[in-house]
Structures are given as C-alpha cells and as structure tokens.
Symmetry: C2
Subunit: 195 residues, 2 copies
C-alpha cells in the first residue's frame, strides 16, 4: 500500500510547511467552522468542508472537538450576543434594532450568532444547543432591556422578526434596504417593544 508517488514533492506546493502546532490548528478549524456554519447552517456543512477550509485533516475535527456537534457547540459559545446593539439609549433601541435588521436584509457574510440559528436541524442535540443559544444570546438580553410583564413575549416577537428577515434573505436573495425599509422596521420594532 505504500505506493506513494513521491514522498515529499516540493515541486508544486511552495507552501512553507506549516509548523506542527496543535493549538493553531485547532483555531484554524474553529475559524473555518464558524464561517461555514454561519454561511450554510449546521447540516449543510460537512466536516470535510471544514477540514478543507482550515487546510487540516478530517480526523482532527473529531480528535480536537469530539464530534461535529462538539465543534458546533464550541463555535456557538464564541459568538457574541446581541448586547452590543441593545446597550445604549433605550429610546433609540427600536431604531438600532431596525438598522441591524435592515443590514441583515442584504449583508450575507459576517458570521453573527443569529445566522446559524436561522437554520433548523433534525439532530435533537443541535436543536437544544440552538434553543439555548437563542435564549441566552438574544431573547434574554433583549427582554432584560425591556420593562413590563410581558417583556419576554415582546422580545420573542422582535427576535422572530430578525429570524424571518434572515430567512427571507436566504430564500429570495439579498436585498439592499431602502430608507423606507429602515423606517418601516423601526415602526414595527417600536410597536413590538412598547409595553
């Protein structure tokens, strides 16, 4: 079986043979996985895609993260929450959410937390990861910024609008938002957030 053509042809590959660094490889896998999961969702990304993107071997995914689901979980944990948008003047919250929602109408790249949550997954383990992440990273922080008894319900509805816009972009294709879009979204978020 050792019929390897030439053990170490440096002919084509002028790459400076990467130093063997466990942690660096782990990070490359993590970065590649984050980008791919955000772009295509858990189920449509294969470990082979991740390994290829990270220029690492397939087996390392399982070795370093236990499984594809383990890797996904670690990716999720590294994602930022929506707090960056929530923090600030409460009066302008609806406007900021609308700006962000409008941005999500056409900006496909950038791997933010909601992206991966737009996808469903048949795997129960992933479903739970998604649900927990959606709660702790989006709904709960948003609810905490609101007053009134049904703060959570209002946060959920606002989040639904986010999710739906992302879904729309993916189904119909990206759409550059107009000022009217932002205005409309602002009005909707205001209607949603007011007690």
């Amino acid at each position: 079986m050792n019929i390897e053509a030439i053990p170490s042809t440096e002919a084509q590959v002028a790459e400076a043979a990467r130093p063997r660094d466990r942690e660096a490889t782990r990070q490359r896998l993590l970065v590649a996985a984050r980008a791919l999961f955000a772009e295509h969702g858990y189920e449509h990304v294969t470990v082979r895609m991740i390994a290829s993107e990270a220029e690492a071997n397939i087996a390392l995914v399982c070795r370093y993260f236990g499984s594809k689901a383990g890797l996904f979980g670690e990716v999720l944990q590294g994602e930022p929450t929506i707090r960056r948008i929530i923090d600030g003047d409460p009066a302008g919250l609806a406007g900021r959410l609308a700006e962000y929602a409008a941005w999500r109408m056409h900006h496909d790249p950038e791997s933010r937390i909601l992206r991966s949550l737009e996808y469903s997954s048949g795997d129960p383990e992933i479903k739970i990861l998604m649900r927990d992440r959606l709660r702790t990273a989006v709904i709960d922080p948003l609810a905490a910024a609101l007053d009134g008894p049904d703060a959570h319900a209002r946060a959920r509805t606002a989040t639904a609008l986010f999710l739906g816009i992302g879904r729309m972009r993916r189904t119909l294709g990206p759409e550059a938002p107009t000022p009217a879009d932002v205005e409309r979204l602002t009005a909707m978020f205001e209607a949603c957030l007011r007690a």
Copy 2:
C-alpha cells in the same frame, strides 16, 4: 436468496389486502408526503418515511413522481395560498394577519404552505421551488392587496414576520398566544403595511 420465511403469512396482518389502484396509491403518497414535509421539512423527510407512512413501496415514489423533488413540487402546488386571509375588508387585514400569525405561534400541525418554507434546503432545485412558491403564494398576493410604490417591500417584511414566528415556534417550542400577543402583532402588521 429466496429464503422468504413464509410467502404469505396472514397470521398477524389481518389487513384486507388493498386493491391495486394506481391513483389511490399516488394519492396516499401525496397525502403522506404533504404531512411529513410540513412537519419536518424537505431534507429531513426521506422517501422511505413517505413510503412507510403511505404504506406503499419506496420505488413507487420515484415511479409516480420521478424523484423526491418532483413529489415535493407536486405537494407544493397542492397547497393553498394566503389569499383566504387577504381577501376581505382591507381595514382589517393587519388584524387577520396577526390572528393567523398568533395561531402559528402554537399550532404546529396543519400543513400550510409556509410550513415547508420555514426550512432551508441545500438542494438548489428545491431552493428555487421554495422561492417561487413563497412569491406566488404569499408575497405577491399580499403585495397585490396593498397600495403604494413599495407594496412589495412591505409584503416581504410582513412575510418575514410570518417566517420568523414559525421559526421561533420550532426552535423554542409552541407557545399559546395571549390577547396581548395578538394586539402586538396587529400593531406590527399595521406599521408594516401602511404606505
């Protein structure tokens, strides 16, 4: 290879051997597929599941519908549009949409058109089917019911809210809508639909 235990044991299966009826079998497959696709989405439903649910043979799916995608396309065509909700007093449109959206917060069953569209699919053919269906069955009829230059944009945003609510239900689980929910959704749809 012909080691079949007993060719035709009627022992357990007291079923009255179904008459061989091509059209009836086709319909059973269609009904089963409609229910399963609506419940789990295109990708999570296998032709084996459909055949099993319809108590038919796997091969018949391909024979009668060409492929899984062909069957899905036929299922989509049989689904109603949103026109039933749109038709009626224009002033009450937002309210009716809100009622429907609220209903979708907790009503998991009933195989309506949007259900299958809540899922994404990697298959480009299915993506196109989804997109076209979303346009012709939901967005376009809704846009037609609106006035103003950006009727389509408003219809898209309203549809996004629908999609997001469905997504939410599937991620967080069904949630019985309160009167406050309906009120909030009505306000949001009004903010969305007004020119």
